[in-house]
Symmetry: C2
Subunit: 348 residues, 2 copies
DNA sequence: GCCTCGATAGAAAGCGCTTTCCATCGGCGA
DNA sequence: TCGCCGATGGAAAGCGCTTTCTATCGAGGC
């Protein structure tokens, strides 16, 4: 049979209560007793029973990190940063670290809810939702309701790169300045002299897509330049590849393409090259996010740097309660234009 | 207060036992009763208490997936595939899915053990270890011991891309044919006429590194060609970049570089380009793994395709018990040479 | 020298669920 | 008609831990 706390207590000749106190360290125990207990733990190779502990204490040391797609570096970087800052954190219940668990929603609202329920069931200590959300009101209501329940049950809720919904007051939120970043990026293209700019946007019904598009349009409007063609698609290379054909078809005079993110930009580049168009000689290309590979692309990508690592770290700290939530529950994360080799002056 | 199973029972005018049976569906319950219970669950918005359930049932629906680095697509792809196949799986305890949780070890043996203990504590249903392991005997012994304990406690153990240790009989293992893949890759370079081949290898003390290097050497030996310089480093772009300088210094006549994986190969390419060397005109470059981006690299990377997605899916199924473990507990996963644009005949 | 207080340790009551017996009940074969 | 069986549902005993409420023991304060 498995070793239980009672076995340890018997071996150390103390009561179970004392063993529990030694393990959780939140009650004074005489040094000699503590040592005796720890020795017994070691000798018996005792491992705390998590469920029992969570049941009695009405909380667990699980922290859920929900991402749209683990295989996407955007989430990979943030999740990994969050997980580190959670691991390093203070000693939770059960004499140790929290278990940060990454859950892949695939961007599907249903899976998101499923995971939230699962985490609620586990009495998770905290939940971090990464990435923008769908704007469908029904989905929004369902998720918000679920989050409210989680918060009510004592689970900390952190949004990272996801705008808070009104009335979502009990969640700390870190939001990227997508609008501002996109605006600066388009301004950069305008300054270079581009007048026909295509936009290979992300999925149509997501907050992130909308915000980036709004920034782009704001720049155009301010400069009095007409908006070029826009095509929506997922956040993958294929989408950029396909979008390029359509953008070019809709405006053959295109001299620049702004992509939903760096991955999409890669697809755009591939499609342009395949048509014999040089970058940035014939067409300039810009990405977004500044994912690790974008500096290695040929030419290196002009993009908008998002401090994903810091944001992830901060989200982790907020989840641990190591960092105080920002005033108003919402902190803006800056987005900085990074000009590299893929953008230049248009010909002529 | 939170709604408990007893509340549901009261509302449905049945005993708690019956509610539990409805929820777990492993005992006959009359249709009318079942409906009444489900209605009550709905009306009260009841959420099962996971810890309590796990405690009573002595097992949980957690499946741990340990990876070296989530931000690395190699793991991202496998983990995401595993998580999907686990999610889709049969109904576990607690009337639903299993919770696949991805844990980032950062390649550190300590963190790996920490996570295994955490999972053991949670009475995880299964654990999947992805990626090669350190070859340090002490670490190996510790991990093997821990895995044995997990298996003993009823947790399924699956190794994916990690060679089993002797005596690790109760773990199902999926191993990539790193040796064969590496061998075929080097053979390809030899056939093209390369005689001076440098190797930008992975970390020195890991199984994966050793196997790939062995395959590489086997090809050279069989062809009677002298081994070129080898440099070890981590699996990142920087490593490839740095290694290139050293390889070139050690053999200025180098006409080809084999990299530890595709990411490293990208660094190698960057370094070569910076020195004004063309690819594959002056130097051929080869990667390994066939990560998603390698087809988009310029030039596209010659590499060894590893079916990461399928391997991850299979690992997930093994963890769920949906798929029978392979005979002998070990299945080889093929590695296929993919020739693209980054390798060609050496000049002259 | 007696009482109080601080520091420790133990007793025991759950935490919310699962599951092993049992009890009940209607129907059917003899 | 009686007894037995299959199908359901209830009672209750834990699962292994946490935590309040007490108990004990010295050390000072008066």
């Amino acid at each position: 049979m498995t070793v239980t706390l009672a076995d340890v207590a018997a071996r150390a000749r103390v009561s179970p209560a004392t063993v529990s106190r030694v393990l959780n360290g939140n009650y004074p125990v005489a040094e000699s007793t503590r040592e005796r207990v720890l020795r017994a733990v070691d000798e018996l190779d005792y491992v705390l029973n998590g469920p029992a502990s969570s049941l009695a204490a009405a909380t667990s040391d699980l922290v859920g990190v929900l991402v749209h797609d683990i295989a996407d570096p955007f989430f990979g970087v943030m999740a990994s940063a969050a997980q580190s800052s959670i691991g390093e954190g203070g000693s939770g219940r059960g004499g140790g670290e929290k278990l940060a668990v990454v859950c892949n929603t695939g961007g599907s609202p249903e899976r998101e809810l499923t995971y939230l329920t699962l985490l609620q069931r586990q009495r998770a200590a905290a939940v971090i939702l990464m990435g923008g959300s769908l704007e469908d009101p029904e989905h929004l209501a369902a998720t918000t309701g679920k989050l409210a329940k989680l918060a009510e049950a004592g689970t900390r809720v952190v949004l990272c790169g996801r705008p808070p919904v009104t009335g979502d007051a009990n969640a700390a939120a870190l939001v990227f300045d997508n609008r501002g970043g996109a605006r600066r990026l388009t301004e950069h293209l305008l300054e270079l002299g581009h007048r026909h700019i295509g936009y290979a946007a992300g999925p149509a019904d997501r907050t992130t897509t909308r915000h980036r598009l709004e920034g782009h349009r704001a720049a155009l409007t301010a400069a009095g330049i007409a908006e070029g063609p826009t095509v929506h698609g997922p956040y993958d290379r294929q989408a950029g590849y396909r979008a390029t054909a359509e953008l070019l078809a809709r405006d053959p005079d295109l001299t620049a393409v702004v992509a939903a993110n760096d991955t999409v930009a890669l697809g755009v580049c591939a499609a342009l090259r395949e048509r014999g168009l040089s970058i940035p000689g014939d067409v300039s290309v810009a990405g977004f996010d500044d994912l690790p590979f974008s500096v290695d692309a040929v030419p290196s990508l002009t993009t908008v740097h998002l401090p994903l690592h810091e944001a992830g770290t901060r989200a982790g700290r907020l989840a641990m309660g190591t960092e105080d939530p920002p005033a108003g529950g919402l902190a803006r994360v800056p987005a900085e234009l990074v000009v590299r080799g893929s953008t230049g002056r248009p010909r002529g």
